[in-house]
Amino acid sequence: MIINLLLLIALTIGALWSVLKADLVKAAIALAVTSIILTILMFRFASPLAAVFELSVCAGLITVIFMSTISLTKYRTPQQEEVRQQSRDRRYAALPVLVIAAAGVLTLVGIPMNFALPQAAAVGDVRSVLWNERQLDLLGQMLVILAGFFGISVLFKSKVKAVGRAGAALVRGELPTTATVGDKSQTTVPEMAESRH
């Protein structure tokens, strides 16, 4: 019980850290640490499969995706970073206080548990639950992944081609024209394409 409580406190601190840090890399790492603590909690609550998914997807894959995306954004100087952190601290200064206050109130008042929880159903194998009982949800998840694929195709694919065309023009010794793709010139996507290094 004490260990679970300590893990919950660590989880809360990790989550707050990821919100409060202005540096995106540190925030992503804090989020990964939060996921790892949640994984440990899930193991302790006898949900090993959920824990494995949490570790591999949230702590692993999501962090890699965040890092890849962050690497495409503009590099900030230490001065800019400091200004941003100060602004963030001013904006979110009350957040840890609110969390501690809420925890204190809940501890003192207590969460009324005067309702009957339903009988736990016989634990089914994850595979049979996924493939036999929740087929529609699996299909829905396929649809979400397909939609995400089209999102990448729409938002990024043509821009990469345009950059490639501009590069090829330079190699031929021609001056490249403004890289426009489709109907309108791009604004935000090129800003994201600068490397941090």
């Binding site: 339903p118 829905g140 396929m142 089209f150 791009q186």
Partner: protein, 473 residues
Amino acid sequence: MSSLLILVPLIGVLILNLPLGFVKRLAFPFALALAFAQAGLAIFSPLDLWNRVLVTFGGFEAFNLVVDRLSIVLLLSIAIVLFATLLVGWATLQDEKKKFDFANLLILAVVGMNGIVMVRDLFSLYIFLEVVGVTSFVLISLDRDKAGLEGSFKYLILSAVATAMMLTAIALLLMTTGTTSFAGVAAALKSPSYLTVLAVSIFVGGLSIKGGLVPFHGWLPDAYSSAPAGVSVLLAGVVTKTTGIYTVIRLVTTVFGFTPQVKAVLLFVGALSIVVGALAALGQKDFKRMLAYSSISQMGYIILSLGTGSALGIAGAVFHLFNHAIFKTQLFVNAAAVEEQTGTRDMDVMGGLSARMPVTGTTSVVAFLSTAGIPPLSGFWSKLIIIVAVWVSGYHMYAALALLASLITCAYFLSMQRRVFFGTLVEEFKTIKEAKLGILIPEVVLALITIGVGVLFPHILNTFILPIQSILG
């Protein structure tokens, strides 16, 4: 048969994206065929055929999908708006690749919406809401311009908050009831605890964000106005209705029930949306932003009617949902036509456009009169049912408010018509032409539906509207 509305479009999208050059040209005809097939099935198929398993392949088709009268109204609305969106998108988008991506995303969005109106499980509902959400984010930012990306980002952030709220509510309901199916949760909610009440409140709050109801409507005007023309038609016509309003109707009537607290909240939120939306629309210069605020106001009527908890109120809410899908789609198609020809959405620089765009001007008048509730158009009948339902349920103040807000609706639409279509033709636009055929066809079709539903109201009342009351069980 209901599962075919999910499986066939999905298989179609997979085939369209095979590395075979010729299949890409089939995107538009395939999507159009889907629209006609879905509309035909919604109008002509008997209810028991919808819920019969027609094709089996390894047990994978046995989804928990159920179609009732309410679902059929939404399926028909989705089909009609898909038809309009497709034609407008094809007429306004220039790039062939963009058209192909648009068609694919549109089909996926329609699959998501079909799933939403047919599922009977909270978690499945959440999954299909996400399908529609992700496709909407991408569609809004299809042009990749600053306004579109900003609108998409606002929608994405607020939608993420909404889905987090809904997931939390689903988790609480699963913990307290042991199930996520509509029937199971409804049975368990007969003896509610404070946690279930909290879960219901959080869930309805999330749906209010999705539906763009006041005070969670902040994302809606930006998303509607900055999206490409065809996408605005889709969003305003059916996306917010399916993801927000239909889901509220379904969950309140089938799962949560009409407790006095639920009714009070729905009535208040509905009335607030009517007034705030109407007043905000009055001050707009941007054509599409005005229509976006008008949508917020009209959706307030639907929620107000639902809040009465009476059979007539629910029938009126669903009828107005359908009518709004038609005339709001019509108005956004008109806006697309005007923007395509003039290159602007600023109503202050327009004037007298109906001299050069007579079809667009005339169909716009039909849509505006229906929105304002002028007989004998469809909007008049649905608003009449709503106001009568609210009045006989004893909420006289709300009924009076709804009636007065109709006057404000009339005012801002008259202002729009005067600034855009009536009066002397502005010098700058003396050479513009009528909209392309791809925009004219949905304009005329939607106007005919608006007139037809209004004129044939007695038949529509007995065939489609009154049977909706069967969802109350």
